[in-house]
Symmetry: C2
Subunit: 100 residues, 2 copies
């Protein structure tokens, strides 16, 4: 399967998690009309109060890369960066399963 | 959102990852007819050769719990256990996004 898949953990600076979450939820909403974006789920972490996990699947690595060049994505990133203490990506090789 | 969501990392014993992956893919296939199971994706890890990550979303925690009592799930678990060196779950509070 040539899809691009990853879990991305954003760790917010103290007190900024909700503002960061809102920006990521806006991004997920904007992705509704982007067919190459197949999954973009926003999760909070029960174990880590400052963490926001994004589950993402794109039709290809190129599609994911191209999305980062979109003006609205650049704007989201610019607004989110000051709120972020750390980013950790877990790149995945999606084999398949139920739901996509 | 009251859905049950988690990332679960299964670490296979040396040389057993592919057998474990097959069992998990069978489980994902069996989940195709289980409407409470909304997402059950099987991923290999580029960083960790013995790891298999499962992305799962269920309609509720109860639905997820009930699934563990199903005979075919018990059978899969029994077949998988000897292949597994470790299991690590990242419980999530799914807020929403695209794809579900």
């Amino acid at each position: 399967m040539d899809k691009y898949a990853a879990y991305v953990k954003f760790t917010a600076k103290a007190g900024e998690r909700d503002k960061l979450t809102n920006i990521l939820m806006e991004a997920a909403n904007a992705a509704q009309t982007v067919k190459e974006c197949e999954l973009y789920l926003i999760n909070l972490s029960e174990k880590e109060p400052d963490a926001v996990w994004v589950t993402e699947v794109w039709s290809s690595a190129d599609a994911h890369k191209a999305s980062l060049d979109q003006p609205e994505t650049r704007d989201s990133i610019a607004r989110a960066m000051p709120l972020i203490a750390g980013v950790e990506a877990i790149p995945l090789n999606l084999l398949g399963g139920k739901g996509l």
